[in-house]
C-alpha cells in the first residue's frame, strides 16, 4: 500500500459513531457513509449528520471505484420513507441528502421511493431542505419525472469520472446518459438546483478534466464536487495518483472561472460532504 499523504488523515471517535450507528440500526436504515466506507464518517457522525442510502444496501451494479456491495437487491421497504424522515428529525438535520443503491431491477429505478421519502421529510421536518443523489435510473424520463415532481431543492447525479474512463470505471453507466440526466432535470424544472461530482486519481489527464468541466457545465449544472479517488480494496480500480490540495484548489478556480456557481474541491470532498454549504451559497444568489 502506497504511503498516505498527510492530507488524508481523518479523526475517528468510536462513541460518536456508535450513537448515530445505533439510530440507523433501530430504524432499519442504511447510510452511504457506512456502505461506501466513507473516510468522513467519523467527522460527519460526530456532527450528527449522515447521508441516507435508501432502497437497500445491495447494488445491482458493480462499478470498479465503489465500495457498495453488489448483490441480490432487497425488497423495497414501505416503512423506509417515514423512517428516513424520523431519523432526520432525531438528528435535527437542516439538509437531508438521500442517495440509493442503483436498482436496475425496479421498473422505475426506485424513483417512487425517492419521491415518497422527500414527501415524508416535508411532512415530518418542515423547513428542512432535501437533496436527492440519484442513480441514472437508466436515463428513463418517466422515472426522472417522478423525482423531479417531488421537488427536492437539489438534484444530484454523479458523472464520477472523465469521458475516457467511463467504461472502465462504471461498466453499466455511460457518460452521455449521465450528462443527459443532468440536462433533462434542469430543463424540466429549472428551479431545482442540479449538482454533480467526479473523482481525480483514476488515471485521467488535465485536458480530459478540462473537457469534462465544459461538458458538465453545458447541461446547466449549478454545483460541482471534486474529490480524491480512494481505492477501497486491492480488487478495485487501481489508484493512479494522489492529487495535492494545491491541485484541488486549481480545479476549483478553473471550474468557477468556467461558470459553476458553487464548487467543493478538496482531497476529502465527497458528493454530500457539507452539502448544506453548497445549497446556502447558491440559494443566496438564486
Amino acid at each position: 500500500m502506497e504511503k498516505k499523504p498527510e492530507w488524508l488523515k481523518v479523526r475517528y471517535n468510536q462513541e460518536a459513531v456508535n450513537e448515530v450507528a445505533a439510530l440507523m440500526r433501530d430504524l432499519k436504515l442504511n447510510t452511504v457513509c457506512k456502505e461506501a466506507n466513507c473516510p468522513n464518517l467519523g467527522e460527519c457522525y460526530r456532527k450528527h449528520t449522515s447521508t441516507f442510502m435508501i432502497l437497500g444496501s445491495n447494488c445491482t451494479r458493480n462499478c470498479k471505484f465503489c465500495n457498495v456491495t453488489c448483490g441480490k437487491p432487497e425488497p423495497v421497504d414501505p416503512e423506509e420513507p417515514m423512517n428516513v424522515a424520523l431519523a432526520a428529525k432525531k438528528l435535527n438535520l437542516r439538509h437531508v441528502v438521500l442517495t440509493c443503491s442503483t436498482r436496475d431491477d425496479l421498473p422505475d429505478g426506485g424513483a417512487e421511493q425517492f419521491a415518497k421519502s422527500v414527501r415524508a421529510i416535508r411532512e415530518v421536518c418542515p423547513g428542512t431542505t432535501v437533496e436527492t443523489l440519484i442513480s441514472d435510473m437508466k436515463g428513463d424520463p418517466a422515472s426522472l419525472d417522478i423525482v423531479i415532481a417531488s421537488h427536492p431543492e437539489v438534484l444530484n447525479h454523479n458523472v464520477e469520472t472523465v469521458k475516457e474512463l467511463q467504461s472502465v470505471v462504471r461498466s453499466k453507466a455511460t457518460y452521455e446518459r449521465s450528462l443527459g440526466v443532468l440536462r433533462y432535470c434542469k430543463e424540466k424544472d429549472p428551479t431545482i438546483l442540479t449538482k454533480t461530482g467526479f473523482m481525480v486519481g483514476l488515471g485521467e489527464t488535465e485536458e480530459q478534466i478540462d473537457r469534462l468541466l465544459d461538458d458538465i457545465l453545458e447541461t446547466g449544472c449549478d454545483i460541482l464536487t471534486i474529490g480524491q479517488y480512494l481505492q477501497p480494496s486491492p480488487q478495485h480500480h487501481p489508484l493512479a495518483r494522489y492529487a495535492t490540495p494545491e491541485d484541488f484548489a486549481r480545479y476549483k478556480e478553473l471550474a468557477l472561472k468556467k461558470g459553476f456557481r458553487h464548487v467543493a474541491s478538496a482531497p476529502l470532498a465527497r458528493s454530500s460532504y457539507k452539502a448544506w454549504e453548497a445549497l446556502e451559497d447558491v440559494h443566496d444568489l438564486y
Partner: protein, 79 residues
C-alpha cells in the same frame, strides 16, 4: 480507574488493523477528543480519539503491529 483502549472496527468487514503510529507516549495526559494513535485503512489514516480524559498508562503494542478488532492496544488511567 484503568480503562482498556481497544482496536476499533472502522469498517464492517475489518477484522484487524495496523497501528501505524502512537501520537501519545506513556505518561502523557490525554483529553477526551484528543487523538492517541493512528490506524491505516485502505482509504485513509484514522486518528483514533480518546473518548475519556486520563493518563496513557501503558502502550500494549508497538507501531507496525497488527491487532484483531476489539483487542486491547493501551491502558488509560482515568479519574
Amino acid at each position: 480507574m484503568e480503562k482498556e483502549l481497544t482496536m476499533p472496527k472502522l469498517r464492517p468487514e475489518m477484522e484487524s488493523g495496523v497501528l501505524c503510529a502512537w501520537l501519545k507516549e506513556e505518561g502523557d495526559v490525554v483529553s477526551a477528543g484528543e487523538p492517541i494513535y493512528e490506524i491505516e485503512t485502505d482509504k485513509v489514516v484514522n486518528q483514533i480519539e480518546a473518548t475519556e480524559s486520563g493518563v496513557l498508562k501503558k502502550q500494549l503494542i508497538e507501531e507496525g503491529d497488527t491487532v484483531p478488532v476489539s483487542s486491547p492496544v493501551a491502558i488509560l488511567e482515568t479519574k
